[in-house]
Symmetry: C2
Subunit: 82 residues, 2 copies
């Protein structure tokens, strides 16, 4: 499996409740694409949200976010990590 970091940029003012709701929406359908969202972090001031996942492809990760109603604007495979 490959690890990915994807970035959402339009979530200015996201609340902890909205954040968890979005994360649960991903988790509810992630297995359908063999994806697992490991961690997510949010900066409500800039509206930036980072999601760390593993999955079969970047497209599979993007499809889950799209279907859950919050498409990502950027994604990178992460073949190297600490």
């Amino acid at each position: 499996m490959t690890q990915f970091m994807d970035v959402h940029r339009g979530m200015v003012g996201i609340t902890p409740e909205q954040f968890m709701e979005a994360h649960r929406a991903d988790e509810a359908i992630e297995a359908e694409e063999g994806v697992h969202f490991q961690h997510a972090w949010a900066d409500p001031e800039s509206g930036t949200v980072y999601c760390l996942s593993e999955g079969p492809s970047a497209e599979a990760v993007l499809r889950i976010h799209e279907r859950a109603g919050h498409p990502a604007q950027e994604i990178h495979p992460l073949p190297i990590s600490t």
Copy 2:
């Protein structure tokens, strides 16, 4: 302590050895600013590197990266996370 994600964008073709060398350079001086780099991930193809840290301020994190020879181009506090 606050958690931060910082982003380096100019590291196209970074190797696992260069990545670990850069990470060790951060770790060697991080305590001087009360910073701790928790995880880092790299995509050598796009040259994008993500670093997750905790510290007293974004400026402290940026100073460590600067002094270690690899300034970051973006940084966000992460008050919300899974």
